[in-house]
C-alpha cells in the first residue's frame, strides 16, 4: 500500500494512471448512456427496445454495435477534402476528452484542479464546434454544408448563454476552480440551484443546444438534411461523433451538477464520507440530468431555425445578463 502511494506521488506515473482511467471511462460512458437512451426511448414510445443481445434486457447491444462498427468500411467520398474530412473526428474527440480534466468526482478526486476550471471547460468545449464545421465543410455535400453551417450558427449562439449562466455561480462561490465551487456550496450549506435557478435553467437549455440534441437538433435534422454534417461519414469515424455526443452529455451534466446541484455533495452527508460516496453522488446527479435530456428528446418537437436564434439572442442572453446583475448586486449589498 505504502509503495503504491509513493508510486502515484510521482507526477508521470499518476498522469499515466489518469490517462488510462479516462481512456476506459469515455467508451464506458458512451455505452451506458447510449444504452440508457435506447431503453428509455423504447419505454417512452411503448416499445421493447434492444432485447436479445447479451441474453437479458439486451444489455450487450452497445458492445455488439461497437464490434459491428469495427467491421464497417471507412468510406471517404472522392469529392471530399480528404485531410480535413479525416481529421474532423479527431478534433471533436480532443475537446471531449480534455473536458474531463476539470470534473471533480470527490474531494481531491479530480484529474487536475485548474484554478480557471470552469472557464477552461467552457473554452475547451467549443473546440468541437470547429470539428463539426470541418466535417460539414469537407464532405463536399450540400446537406453536410447546410448542416455544418447550421451547427456553427447554433453553437455560437448558445455558447454565450452557457458562458453567462455560469457567471452567477462564479460570483457566489468567488472562484472559478471546479472543486472550489463545490466546497463553497458545502460551506454555504445549500446547492446553488436554490438561488441560481434562472442560471441553472439557462445552462441546461444552452447545454441541450450545444449538444445539438432535440429540440435543438437542426444541424442533423434527419427529415430535412439526411444526417446533416454526418451524412458522408461511415464506420468508426461516424461512431466517434456519437461517442463524443454521449461523453459530452456526461461532462455537460457533470458541469451543471457541479455548478448548481452541489456536485459530489448532498446535504446531510458527513464530509469525511465524501471521498467514498462522492463519485456515486455525482454520477447519480449526472444520470438524473442525462435522463432529463433523453426525456426532452421525446417530448418536444424540433424548433425552427429562426426560433432557435430568437430564443438565444432575445431571451436567454438578456436573461443571463440580468441574472448576473442581480446576483452581483445582492452579493455586494448583503
Amino acid at each position: 500500500m505504502e509503495f503504491l502511494i509513493d508510486l502515484f506521488d510521482n507526477f508521470w506515473v499518476s498522469l499515466a494512471g489518469k490517462l488510462l482511467l479516462v481512456a476506459t471511462m469515455i467508451p464506458l460512458i458512451g455505452m451506458v448512456i447510449g444504452f440508457a437512451e435506447m431503453k428509455l426511448s423504447a419505454k417512452m414510445q411503448a416499445r421493447v427496445g434492444p432485447y436479445f443481445a447479451g441474453g437479458r434486457w439486451g444489455w450487450a447491444q452497445l458492445i455488439a454495435d461497437g464490434v459491428k462498427f469495427f467491421q464497417k468500411e471507412d468510406i471517404v467520398p472522392d469529392a471530399a477534402d480528404k485531410p480535413v474530412f479525416k481529421s474532423a473526428p479527431i478534433l471533436v474527440l480532443v475537446g471531449t476528452v480534455a473536458l474531463f480534466v476539470v470534473i471533480p468526482f470527490g474531494p481531491g478526486l479530480i484529474f487536475r484542479d485548474l484554478s480557471v476550471g470552469i472557464f477552461y471547460a467552457l473554452a475547451i468545449s467549443s473546440l468541437s464546434t470547429i470539428g463539426i464545421l470541418m466535417a460539414g465543410w469537407s464532405s463536399a455535400n450540400k446537406y453536410s454544408l447546410i448542416g455544418g453551417l447550421r451547427a456553427a450558427g447554433q453553437l455560437i449562439a448558445y455558447e454565450l448563454p452557457l458562458v453567462l449562466a455560469v457567471v452567477g455561480s462564479v460570483i457566489m462561490a468567488g472562484t472559478m476552480s471546479m472543486s472550489g465551487i463545490v466546497e463553497a456550496q458545502i460551506n454555504a450549506g445549500f446547492p446553488y440551484v436554490i438561488v441560481q435557478f434562472v442560471g441553472f435553467a439557462i445552462f441546461m437549455v444552452a447545454a441541450l443546444a450545444e449538444l445539438t440534441r432535440i429540440p435543438f437538433d437542426m444541424p442533423i435534422a434527419e427529415s430535412e438534411l439526411v444526417m446533416g454534417y454526418l451524412t458522408e461519414y461511415s464506420g468508426f469515424r461516424f461512431l466517434f461523433f456519437f461517442l463524443a455526443e454521449f461523453a459530452n452529455m456526461f461532462s455537460m451534466s457533470a458541469i451543471a451538477a457541479t455548478l448548481f446541484l452541489g456536485g459530489y455533495w448532498l446535504p446531510g452527508i458527513p464530509e469525511d464520507l465524501l471521498s467514498f460516496v462522492g463519485p456515486f453522488i455525482l454520477i447519480g446527479k449526472v444520470f438524473l440530468l442525462a435522463f432529463l435530456m433523453i426525456w426532452f428528446r421525446w417530448t418536444f418537437p424540433r424548433f425552427r431555425e429562426d426560433q432557435l436564434q430568437g430564443i438565444a439572442w432575445k431571451w436567454l442572453i438578456p436573461l443571463a445578463l440580468a441574472n448576473i446583475a442581480v446576483t452581483a448586486i445582492l452579493k455586494v449589498v448583503l
Binding site: V97, R112, N141, L160, M176
Partner: protein, 121 residues
Amino acid sequence: MSTYFESYLTVGAFAALGAVLVLVMLGVASVLRPTKPTAEKQLTYECGVDPVGDGWSQTYVRYYVFGLLFVIFDVEAVFIFPWAIQVDELGVFALVAMLFFIVTVIEGLVYAVKKGVLRWE
C-alpha cells in the same frame, strides 16, 4: 517541476489522448474492416441520385452576422469573469462600472435586433 507546468502538461496529455484514441481505434478497425472502394460508393450522397453540381454550392450564409455579434459578447464574457470572482473585494464602484458595461452591451444587442438581424424572410 512546478505545479503550473504540471497543469499544462495534464491538459496537453488529455488533449493528445483524444487524438490517440481516434488513431488507435481507426488503426484496429483498418485491420478488421474490408476495403473495396468502387466509383459508385465514393460518390457524394444525394438521396440515391447522381449529385447535381458541386458539393460546395452557393448557400446564403446568414449566420455571419451572428458570428460578428458573438465576437462582441464573447469578449464581454471574458471581461466579466475576472470581476465575477472578486465581486466582494472590488465593491460598489466596480459593481456600478460593470452594470454600465452590461447595459451598454445590451444596448448593442437591442440595436441589432431592431435593425432586423434576427428577422428571417
